[in-house]
């Protein structure tokens, strides 16, 4: 028991060292740290007053210049200011939706893997249903009928969380079943450990590394979902996010004006952040899942 307890932190430390050595993972982490800092200090980097259409004083839909490094939009707002402040909503929604998705996925995955009878089977069917149903139409439908008195920002977070947990659940279920076949679970059962004890004390710690690696991949899916929903006009209309800047650019004629800077700034930001999360996720998967050794 004590040997096991001592082994855990050592393993964690070596995983961290392996991550530090992983070039792909580290470059992803650096990009994410930068964007995180930008989101936290957004108000210091760019005056939030620049987000209001009425207070904008720049030239209308002007190409990048020294004063406006990413150009301006139809109302003369600096695109850079909007990208800086948009990072807050995009990252917040992406992370919060991921938390919901991970909780749901882990809970449903472990329960459906642990209980073998009718209950587990039904949960598994439920998971499969969510896996098969195309997420975007479901998210669109959910976002449309969501009660109007819930703030839009929270509604979007819940919608994305509820539509994206199934992949995690499938992964966790498979892992749970693999763990439950091991002798130490038999021992726990023989000693009279209940379902709750088995699931939280034995299964959960063993599926956590997998969930962790999956989390970073889920964040990238959640961010794509957030920008897509905002682009379709289902996001929070009162807050700037990258998806909404892109939606405005599309709806207010960036294409006809040839205003590439209006699209490029937020577009590059989305791709950079999603790609950075993907890179971290791939690196974590490599480190935590030894079966992938020699694969990627």
């Amino acid at each position: 028991m004590s040997a096991l307890a001592a082994a855990a932190p050592r393993r964690r430390a070596s995983a961290w060292r392996a991550f530090l050595r992983d070039r792909e993972g580290m470059s992803g982490l650096i990009v994410l740290t930068l964007f995180g800092l930008v989101a936290i200090f957004a108000s210091l980097l760019a005056d939030p007053a620049g987000l209001e259409v009425t207070k904008a004083d720049g030239p209308l839909a002007a190409a990048p210049s020294w004063e406006y490094p990413l150009g301006t939009d139809h109302a003369g707002r600096s695109v850079l200011t909007m990208v800086i402040h948009g990072s807050q909503v995009t990252l917040l929604v992406g992370l919060a939706a991921t938390v919901i998705s991970m909780l749901l996925g882990t809970l449903i995955g472990i329960t459906s893997g642990h209980f073998s009878g009718l209950f587990g089977g039904a949960l598994n069917r439920f998971t499969e249903w969510f896996l098969v149903i195309p997420y975007l139409p479901l998210a669109i439908v959910l976002a449309t009928v969501f009660p109007a008195d819930v703030p839009k920002l929270i509604a979007v977070i819940i919608v994305i969380g509820v539509t994206s947990w199934s992949g995690t659940a499938r992964l966790v279920r498979a892992q749970t079943m693999a763990i439950e076949a091991r002798p130490y679970l038999e021992r726990a059962k023989a000693l009279g450990g209940g379902h709750w004890h088995q699931m939280t004390r034995h299964v959960l710690p063993n599926v956590m590394p997998l969930v962790l690696a999956n989390t970073t991949l889920t964040v990238s899916i959640a961010i794509i979902a957030e920008t897509t929903l905002s682009f379709l006009g289902l996001g929070d209309p009162l807050r700037v996010s990258w998806g909404r800047v892109l939606d405005e650019a599309y709806a207010l004629g960036a294409i006809d004006r040839g205003a590439w800077w209006w699209v490029l700034g937020p577009g590059v930001a989305v791709v950079l952040v999603v790609r950075a999360f993907n890179m971290c996720g791939r690196a974590l998967e490599r480190i935590l899942d030894p079966r992938l050794e020699g694969r990627s």
Binding site: I133, I140, A254, G258, W260, N278
Partner: protein, 337 residues
């Protein structure tokens, strides 16, 4: 070649290449169950979540006039007990009646049927191109893991995979619009002097490119990891020991085996294809189901949205069923499972 395995359950395997009727029945049953669940969700989501469903269904939302609202409540069965209303709903869905779209002033089924083919044409073309290219790229990259080709193509794939499809379309449009080479919206141009089919083809170039690029990224990553799994297999060593050229080993031996698991994943990614279709059709104003979804959101035109959700889900469920039924025919390893 597949003898009865030891400890087989009730299902005894036969050496024929066809899946057993029981297997087909079970898969069809599962698909039907999923479809039934879509219908149930479609009913309850629109009834339970919003405060007053009539106001959601009404053309002018919250400002609908009371007379129209009363009529709507009657028609939607909101005055009935929910079991009665649900019975009515299921009956009308089964008879192919999905209600009336108020933004298009037509029956939902007719509107959807009108827009179905452009979507099938666009997504189908992109899918075929992407599957062929993705398999080829992924196989080549995986076969020579760590080579320059692999690094380049894997990097590109992860980048495009990290990009929402519509964003790529938007960027392309914003740069290409000024040159006016390719048409940027719609499916045909009444002023065009080209033959009708060529005009449609010409309009397809940009949206198909965008969809194909993103799908290729997904498919090549799947195929690559599938080839990597296969790379060290013993039968490949045998093939090499026979003195086959490396290229032949890959194409004749490794590819067919790596292709099969990839196929399942290709079919499983249909939801991803639907999302691409919705957003890319929106950006290019392609008159298909995706653009229709975007337009339906403007109301929002709830009956139409309900119908679209049903059709998209049914499409994906049917594709999955086809994959499930096809796999045992193609892959003996699945037949054993």
């Amino acid at each position: 070649m597949t003898g009865p395995s030891s400890g087989a359950g009730a299902v005894t395997r036969r050496p024929s290449r066809l899946p057993s009727p029981l297997f087909v029945l079970r898969k069809c049953g599962a698909a039907l169950l999923m479809l039934a669940f879509v219908v149930v969700v479609n009913f309850f989501l629109f009834r339970v979540l919003p405060g007053d469903p009539a106001k959601v269904f009404a053309p002018r939302g919250r400002n609908a006039d009371p007379e129209a609202l009363r009529e709507l409540r009657e028609r939607l069965g909101l005055n009935d007990h929910w079991t009665v209303a649900f019975g009515k709903y299921v009956k009308s869905v089964l008879s192919g009646d999905l209600g009336v779209s108020f933004s298009q002033h037509a029956k939902v089924t007719d509107v959807i049927m009108d827009r179905l083919w452009p979507t099938v044409l666009l997504s189908g073309t992109a899918l075929v191109i992407a599957a062929v290219l993705g398999v080829w790229l992924g196989a080549r990259a995986g076969w020579r893991r760590g080579s320059r080709f692999d690094k380049l193509s894997s990097n590109a794939a992860v980048t495009f995979y990290s990009m929402p499809e519509w964003l790529l379309g938007l960027v392309l449009l914003v740069f290409l619009n000024r040159y006016g080479i390719f048409p940027t919206r719609g499916m045909n141009d009444p002023r065009s002097t080209l033959p009708a089919w060529l005009d449609v083809l010409w309009h397809m170039v940009l949206p198909v490119t965008v969809l194909a690029v993103v799908y290729v990224a997904e498919y090549s990553l799947i195929m690559r990891s599938s080839i990597l799994d296969e790379r060290r297999a013993d039968y490949l060593t045998t093939a090499r020991a026979k003195g086959l050229r490396d290229d032949l080993v890959m194409r004749r031996h490794a590819m067919p085996n790596a292709l099969l698991p990839s196929m399942t994943l290709f079919f499983l990614s249909m939801g991803f294809v639907v999302a691409g279709a919705i957003t890319v059709e929106t950006v290019f104003s392609w008159p298909g189901l995706g653009r229709l979804t975007y337009d339906a959101l403007r109301g929002p035109d709830i009956p139409l949205l309900q119908g679209l959700f049903l059709v998209f889900s049914a499409g994906v469920i049917i594709m999955n069923l086809v994959a499930d039924l096809l796999m045992p025919v193609l892959d003996p390893r699945v037949r054993a499972a």
